[in-house]
Symmetry: C2
């Protein structure tokens, strides 16, 4: 059966300790917004997959109970930075498989300021790296890469993404200016997003002039540490029809890929940070949707670091391997171009609360496909694609289609 | 569609630091055993829900990668002490909904010796309590109960279960000897289980004479801290037929219940520790299976503390409220009685590695329903029931039927 997004909601993403909220406060805010957007009450929800990484076991119940004490199943899920879309993937399958007609996917993260930064005060890189360093297939091959690329024994994520960026530059002639162009674009997009953690605009020179985190990635090319929540209501066709729900968006195709030997066999940091996972997830999602990258209008993708946006252009088939630097420079991935990538500002400027990110991407795409994205609206958007990846690892690609 | 268990496996449960293994070692051991038992290779597995509470995000990938790097979806799930059955519940729904024909549910826990004990050196009580104390609907009502029952502000789980036991004694005249009889039975059963952490036999006097953990619960009435893993292969009918799999057990009915106002409204500790959740989960599972407690032969239930076995007898409908002490004393829940409860030795003597427990219960029941449980075999067992509960909270009841 088909599954549809009926409602979405999110909090504004915030620098940790900006608001005095607990994770259940943010979850209530996002969850209530999604339910209201869908036009249903919590009483109609039959199951709740909840995504987060840093809160204790059954934090999902603590959060969902804010919306109601209805006794329904709650699943707490995590997959590092791909946690939000993991909750969405379960929600979609529960609806598509007929186990439920209305499922709420909820995601949140309350992060510690600086606690995860591995030296830099930006983002998720440290948090993911903690788990990442415990993951053998990565660790197993890490010795080789550490020697080859000259970084410390257990790197914060910034180091491994920095190494991937250098590898791309060496192999394809990608420039620091092209990497910075990704960040300049996403910061510029975020200026129109009231939910974004940052809304400041920077040019390429300003991006390059910001503090170096790990060569060649400067601070403004790295996603920050963030608090925030997002939620998505997934429903069946019969549920939507019976209740006369409007504003539906179809989940046309979705896939999760995890690591294979390809991630590690080459010793390439581009492979280790997940480009092969992203490529496989995209291929499967296209196949299930019966659509291709040529059908897509708007994309929210996992720009945890500027380089990952470039790697993802290639993984999604937007350009040939090595051509991504030129693609962003050409303007093909911003307003007026072939696709608009990260109209929300992306992880770099909107923020990256791990459990919420995948669901917030969905929220942005739903607004875009409904034509209600305001100043960020991508003209005539009919098909959207979300890409969310976590080291350790999981890549989730979701193709959404306006109904 | 129907879903079937095709294979099960588990490690021996061990006191932490007994074996020098990592969580992925135990997962490989249990997962390989389950696949071998099913007669399938990891290459046939399409999705992997993995349950654990204390390992980092994407530990499930780290574990599953030991079995193969096939790139399939991995979901890391947690629900405190009900984590293992949460993974099973997702596996069952993925198969029943047609999303996959073969799903491996994997669960493990590597726990720290004494680290969770809240003063006592037994069990999961401390671990669950950490999360539990963060859960508002409990915390919200906790002040009342703390005052009413006279314990500290943030109790280890033993305190709240101890209070529930005292409440049962005061309300129904249940005796300390009846509580101890639960533990004596389960320790006795474990003598025949090579996978059990403890295999020593104690009589009621010996149980009562062991160190007091929290009145009236003595040490031998509390589940220990444990390392271990368990795994279950869930398949569709068509997959089983195509491959000629044997030894199938049908998942006839299953339900997860979470808290409702009923858990807290009364201020009763019996309600707070989850008897109402268990009752609702059982009712739903019976309805879905088209079976009742009268059809059940063998039960694995969540005896984290002796009192919880008594509370669960009532929740499952084995006796009227208040009659559970007499029921265990009558011998109705051991070999030769109406049901055999916890033939494996239960959490109290088999051990309780949080992520593994729900799946290990399934393993025991599958062996019982196949008639391959050796010295522990319950004669003529055709229908089994597993009950797994986590404070915070979730109760999962699964009804299994021999094919």
């Amino acid at each position: 059966m088909k599954a549809f997004v009926a409602g979405v909601g999110m909090t504004r993403f915030e620098k940790p300790e900006t608001r005095s909220w607990q994770y259940w406060d943010m979850a209530r805010e996002a969850g209530s917004a999604a339910l209201e957007d869908a036009g249903v009450t919590y009483g109609a929800v039959e199951q709740v997959p909840v995504g987060y990484c840093f809160q204790p076991s059954t934090a999902g119940q603590r959060a969902a109970y804010e919306l109601g004490l209805t006794g329904i199943p709650v699943y707490n899920v995590n997959n590092n930075c791909a946690t939000g879309s993991t909750a969405l993937m379960l929600a979609r399958q529960l609806v598509a498989g007929g186990a439920a007609d209305c499922v709420l996917a909820l995601g949140f993260e309350k992060m510690k300021k600086g606690a995860l930064g591995g030296g830099a005060d930006g983002g998720a890189r440290g948090g993911a790296a903690d788990a990442w360093s415990a993951v053998s297939p990565v660790a197993r091959h890490y010795g080789i890469m550490a020697a080859r690329h000259g970084f410390e024994a257990t790197p914060p994520t910034a180091q491994i993404f920095g190494a991937a960026a250098r590898e791309h530059m060496e192999r394809y002639g990608t420039t620091e200016a092209q990497l910075a162009a990704v960040a300049a674009k996403n910061h510029r997009h975020s200026a129109h997003n009231p939910n974004a953690q940052f809304r400041d605009v920077y040019d390429v020179a300003g991006i390059l002039a910001s503090r170096m985190v790990h060569r060649p990635l400067t601070r403004l090319q790295c996603s920050p540490t963030s608090d925030g929540a997002a939620a998505v209501v997934v429903v069946s066709q019969r549920f939507a029809s019976r209740r006369g729900l409007t504003g539906l968006v179809e989940i046309a195709g979705q896939a999760m890929a995890t690591d294979t030997e390809e991630s590690f066999a080459s010793g390439s940091c581009i492979d280790v940070v997940g480009q092969p996972m992203s490529r496989r997830a995209a291929r499967q999602a296209y196949e299930r949707a019966g659509l291709g990258i040529e059908d897509v209008d708007v994309i929210e993708l996992h720009d945890c670091f500027s380089v990952n946006e470039l790697l993802t252009y290639e993984a999604l088939g937007m350009c040939a391997p090595g051509e991504s630097g030129k693609l962003v420079e050409s303007g093909a991935t911003t307003y007026g171009g072939r696709w608009v990538v990260n109209p929300s500002g992306g992880l770099i400027s909107k923020g990256h609360p791990l459990g919420a990110t995948g669901l917030a991407q969905t929220a942005e795409l739903v607004w875009q496909l409904r034509g209600t994205a305001g100043e960020r609206q991508v003209a005539g958007a009919r098909v959207g694609l979300a890409h969310n990846i976590g080291l350790g690892g999981a890549a989730v690609v979701t193709v959404l289609r306006a109904v």
